[in-house]
């Protein structure tokens, strides 16, 4: 298995997993895919490792001795916007929803083979390193200005090159940041990607399946709770009334 289609610059993944076999084998498998992997066997060691080094992605097991995956996720999110992928062996609502609420970007249910795991990691990293000039055609959110030109509506008004303004919320589609009343909002990659997706279609209802497809790269097999919980997290950061729920359909960004 000499698939080295990994990134050019070595991406480091912090794997926190208590099962020794999984920790070793997943670590080895990811290294084969070109990732640099550091591993921890419990939550507190994981947190220590995370604070010490620079990592591009966190791969967390939910059930961990000591500080569990959800607690670790919450602690990491206090200071960092690093992409977090949860691994749940139980796969029930409690694990999945708590993980996503704690700030995880996505989850996989064990057993997961390396191919699927790498696909999820790549999708997550794409969101983290996502920039408009890199993937212009495939990403509708990268060119909202052209889709909704000045004749479309007075709002969102284009300020500067890539700024979209929705009330107090300003989204800089070039610099990839959001400001609420002038204050920068710290958005995790998935949250930012989701916000850009909304901003590309202001006032238009986006159903969960579309969001799953465009933001998370899922097909119909995606779990719509991922969307719901990410929208909830996004609302906490940019104001709860900015993203409206359209009953039975999905969500839309209020202009």
């Amino acid at each position: 298995m000499d698939v080295r289609s990994g990134p050019q610059t070595r991406v480091t993944v912090l794997l926190v997993e208590d099962d020794e076999v999984i920790r070793k084998t997943v670590g080895m498998a990811l290294e084969r895919y070109g990732y640099e992997v550091s591993t921890a066997g419990d939550g507190l060691t994981g947190l220590e490792l995370f604070r010490e080094g620079r990592h591009d992605l966190l791969l967390l097991d939910v059930m961990l001795p000591g500080l569990d995956g959800i607690g670790l996720c919450r602690r990491v999110r206090e200071t960092s916007l690093i992409p977090i992928l949860m691994m749940s062996a139980r796969g029930d609502s409690l694990d999945v929803v708590s993980g996503l609420e704690a700030g995880a970007d996505d989850y996989v249910v064990k057993p997961v083979d390396t191919g699927v795991l790498v696909a999820r990691i790549r999708s997550l990293l794409r969101r983290a390193t996502f920039a408009p000039d890199r993937e212009p055609a495939s990403e509708p959110a990268s060119e909202p200005a052209s889709e909704h030109g000045p004749d479309d509506s007075p709002q969102p008004a284009s300020r500067g090159t890539g700024d979209l303004v929705f009330g107090e919320l300003t989204i800089d589609t070039q610099g990839l940041e959001a400001r609420l009343a002038g204050e920068p909002v710290a958005l995790a990659p998935t949250e930012l990607r989701l916000l850009l997706e909304f901003a590309a279609h202001p006032g238009i209802v986006l159903d969960r399946q579309t969001l799953l497809r465009n933001v998370w790269d899922y097909g119909w097999d995606g779990d719509s709770r991922v969307v719901d919980l990410c929208v909830q997290r996004l609302r906490k950061k940019i104001g709860s009334d900015r993203i409206e729920t359209v009953r039975g359909f999905g969500y839309k960004l209020r202009r």
């Binding site: 298995m1 076999v21 084998t25 796969g91 029930d92 609502s93 709770r225 719901d228 409206e244 039975g248």
Partner: protein
Amino acid sequence: MSTEPAETRRTTRVRRRTPPDPLHPPDPLHPPRTRAPLNPLSALDPRSLRWKIAALAAAASCAVAVAVGVLVHTTTYDWSLNVGRATALQALMSKATGAGGGDVSASASEDPAALPPELLRQVAVGKTVTWYDDTKPDEPWMWAAVRDNGRVLAVKMDMGAERRSLQALDRHIVMATLAALAIVMPLAALVAELSNRRLRRVAGTVRRIAGGDLDARIGAGGRTRDEIGEISAAVDSMASALQERLLAEQRFTADVAHELRTPLMGLITSAELLPEGEVTELVRDRVGVLRALVEDLLEISRLDAGAERADHVPVPLGGVVEESVRRTGLPARVEVTAHPMADTDPRRLDRIIANLVVNAHRHGRPPVEVSVRGTTIVVRDHGPGFPDTLLAEGPRRFRTGAKERGKGHGLGLTIALGQAQVIGAALDFANAPDGGAVATVRLEAGTRD
């Protein structure tokens, strides 16, 4: 009235796929309900208990009124006849003795021809008789007659006044009855409403529990101790017992899942790291089989635990089915007519379609055809068809039918059937006349209509 059921059904459907709203985020443990088992009875429905109780009260009042009315009527009637009879006799006496001209109201007649024949026949006996003549309802008379020395002496009294006062009495009774009804019926409806409200609360809570909200309780504490309080307490304790059992089973299933999946994942990732070779292929194949078996068993135990809830969203059915078939990696021709939209749970539908397609390949023979027409999905193959026992009894675990039908553990169809029940679809198994198994999924069937 005829539009009412449709109206109710629509509202329950809309409620079922309630998306999360900003103020009340979705409760992840209790996702939207899938089934609408009972439609709430409208308050204006004539079948409502309120109207039944009101009608009962009205009937009781009417019965009492009729009984009292009849009693009063007959007593008054008898009394007025007695008074009339006495007066008539008195008038006859005074007539016979010639003591006076008699009452103004009494007129005497000595002409037998002018007397009514009925009176004459009675008077023939030879003593004083009275006869109430009501042959003409408007002018009733009270006759008194006596045969005296061969001639008949008779007086008649006008009973019109008594008759009219009796009619007035009847009218008053009817009016009093109506007035009483006008008070009793709304009062009964109102009193019934108090019980009804509590009963509706019971029904609503039971409906919520059936819909998956296991925390729903009636909370009958402190209420008046009656049958409704009793049923409320019984429902509450049933819900608690149900919740406890369900949670225990869910916990067990989740624990089993964790205990099985953790070593399995290590096995899978280890097998992936093995150097390529014949033995590696064997190991990977067996690991794959083990993994499929574990996942199928876990899925079945989740379905058995009854904890599974569908998450209905409107989806383009053709797209979901095509993607589902594509993901199985097995060849199958998908034919979609009219690209219908459906309100269903795409992840569960995916499980159904994938299991049916895999089953068709495993036990049937290609070509496997999948067709989507309206909200009906048909998966058919061109093999020997489903075994008779499956057609008769439905899918059974670890029962793969005839040996020549090939390998497999027979869980796929069980899962497909279980998931179909969760999303409220009907799944039927049949054999095509020209051979081959035909599995039909009807999304709009089952509990949803």
